[in-house]
């Protein structure tokens, strides 16, 4: 049944990602490694049409958007990786007419049983985050599996039993863990940094959290120098050199 599992119990894991928007550098390595792993993993293969041509397209579980937030000098460029948030109240699961979409009770991961999927695409309509992508080759819906074939994989070294996107991030902006355990590293990060839920007003209770960029510093380091330097053009010319002062006077005429 595509009924959602009963309310999350304290003992049950809610595995998910915590993404640090302060340190993400927007390199797309997580998306590339996701595609690389998953085109040979649980949902393999992922379509990849015209990869070097004019209109490359295919299924990606993870996509990196770049936003600008704020105005003027206070504005920030924020790189924003977006993938399935493994919602607690996953609408993609409850709309599924066949039971192909399901949420696992033991760890909260939302998966698609590709053998039962009829490819009606209703789940992709129900997802506010645009996380599900349709595989036109296989005629079924595909989505992030939280690398279910890595995180429990005993053939991998223990430090590698994390999603591919987490293992590859060069800025350590991606964290994986149990968000239902208040003592886990990821839960600690969320509470320390004020981790955000995306579109909480829709009520789907996403599990993944996003750590907002830290506030810009007013002063830099122990020297106390201002965080932003005054424009070079307004600086007084070097006071020690009479020659340079003369050049400046001549050129300023």
């Amino acid at each position: 049944m595509t009924l959602l599992p009963p309310r999350v119990q304290p003992g049950n894991a809610q595995l998910g990602l915590v993404i640090d928007l302060d340190t993400c550098v927007g390199c797309h390595a997580c998306a590339v490694n996701c595609k690389e792993w998953n085109t040979g993993g649980h949902s393999a293969p992922l379509p990849d049409h015209d990869p070097y041509g004019a209109d490359p397209n295919g299924v990606w579980f993870n996509r990196i958007h770049t936003f600008e937030a704020g105005e003027g000098t206070a504005s920030r460029t924020v790189h924003f990786p977006r993938s399935c948030l493994h919602c607690e109240d996953a609408a993609c699961v409850s709309v599924c007419p066949t039971g192909a979409s399901y949420k696992r009770e033991e760890d909260g991961i939302v998966l698609v049983n590709e053998d039962a999927c009829i490819g009606c695409k209703l789940c992709s309509w129900a997802c506010p985050y645009g996380a599900r992508e349709y595989d036109t080759d296989a005629g079924v819906m595909k989505k992030c599996t939280l690398c279910i074939d890595r995180i429990y994989n005993e053939n991998l070294a223990e430090e590698d039993r994390v999603p591919a996107c987490v293992s590859t991030c060069p800025a350590s902006a991606r964290h994986f863990g149990d968000l239902n355990d208040p003592d886990s590293e990821v839960s600690q990060l969320v509470s320390e940094r004020g981790g955000k839920e995306l579109m909480p007003e829709l009520g789907y209770k996403p599990v993944n959290r996003y750590l907002p960029p830290r506030a810009a510093k007013k002063e830099q380091g122990p020297s106390g120098v201002g965080a932003s330097l005054p424009p070079l053009a307004d600086l007084a010319p070097d006071g020690d050199s009479r020659f340079l002062r003369w050049v400046d006077r001549v050129l300023s005429r």
Binding site: M1, T2, L4, A31, P56, N57, W60, R63, I64, H65, T66, F67, E68, A69, G70, E71, A74, R76, T77, V78, F80, R82, A91, S94, V95, C96, P97, T98, G99, A100, C117, I118, G119, C120, K121, L122, S124, W125, A126, C127, P128, Y129, G130, R132, E133, Y134, D135, T136, G139, V140, K196, E197, L198, M199, P200, E201, L202, Y210, P212, P213
Partner: protein
């Protein structure tokens, strides 16, 4: 939202079919039309043809039509599954009513009861079609209290228009049937107008700020999309052709489903058959064209909240 032709054909054809069968069953059970076996056969047959071709076309957009039977399993949670179950179950009272009307030549007693059940099942099936859309919080134009009334009303209207034309063809000029058409016309006009006003003014469910959680920094706008070419989500949810032509299409809709049929129905429904038959037939065709445009707009005008990640400023 991308308007898939198979889904538009399905919802409009099956809507007309359920509307027609609903009225046949109701008028049959209440002795509102003569118990003419030929009239019953053609009316119920046309209705069955419309719902069956609609249901079959709805499987055409599936990635795996051969697995469509699996959609009967999740009636506890999914409105799409409930629609499938109800649509199939409706064939039972449909066949029994047709048996009573055409072969047993009686719509009294138990057959009247079965016809009443059939009318009820038609209502429930169309209601569940509307609920598929109305329960999607991601699409504010559909998550609207007028979505289900709209589906019910347009099914009734297209069913009534064809019922009226058919009755004229068989020589039954019953003012009650014409009255149903007129009521359905005004009702659809009122509901659609109210619906359009509502979707034009209601705010979207989320903003770029809430979608990214970056609202504390100020206004949020997309700088770079993930890829230079469109992906599945953009093609499926980012359809915007209709929004450009909204006013023109709404006018076409108003003329075809309301204005032309109401004039024709008013002028010809009690005229001589040579005028009444073509008049009501053209009215029915016009209604059907209008309902297709209405349904196309229903899809094409709807904005999906996920487009906030692709540069949409409102949802």
């Amino acid at each position: 939202m991308h308007p898939a032709y198979s889904v538009i054909f399905f919802t409009t054809a099956s809507g007309a079919g359920y509307g027609l069968i609903f009225l046949m069953a109701l008028f049959g059970a209440l002795d509102g039309v003569p118990a003419d076996p030929w009239f019953g056969a053609v009316g119920l047959g046309l209705g069955a043809l419309l719902i069956t071709s609609g249901l079959l076309s709805s499987t055409a957009h599936l990635g795996h039509p051969e697995r469509a039977w699996r959609a009967y399993s999740q009636w506890k949670s999914s409105w799409l599954s409930r629609e499938g179950v109800l649509a199939t179950a409706t064939y039972v009272p449909l066949v029994l009513t047709a048996w009573g009307w055409v072969i047993a030549k009686s719509l009294d007693g138990k057959f009247a009861f079965i016809a009443a059940v059939l009318a009820m099942m038609c209502l429930l099936t169309v209601h569940s079609t509307g609920m598929i859309y109305a329960t999607l919080r991601t699409i504010s134009a559909w998550h609207n209290k007028l979505t289900v009334p709209g589906y019910l009303c347009f099914a009734l209207l297209s069913g009534a228009a064809w019922f009226h034309a058919l009755a004229q063809v068989f020589g039954y000029q019953t003012p009650e049937v014409a009255l149903v058409v007129i009521i359905a016309l005004f009702l659809s006009f009122y509901i659609k107008r109210k619906y359009w006003r509502s979707i034009d003014t209601q705010p979207g469910p989320a903003t770029p700020e809430s979608a990214t959680g970056l609202g504390d920094l100020g206004k949020v706008r997309l700088l770079d999309p993930p890829t230079m070419t469109e992906n599945f989500v953009q093609r499926e949810m980012g359809f915007s052709i209709a929004r450009k032509h909204t006013h023109k299409l709404r006018r076409i809709c108003f003329f075809t489903y309301f204005l032309i049929p109401i004039v024709l129905t008013g002028l010809t429904s009690s005229a001589q058959p040579w005028l009444a038959i073509p008049g009501t037939l053209i009215a029915a065709i016009s209604v059907s064209v209008g309902v297709v445009v209405e349904r196309w707009l229903f899809f094409a005008e709807a904005k999906h909240v996920s487009m906030l990640y692709y540069g949409a400023e409102t949802s």
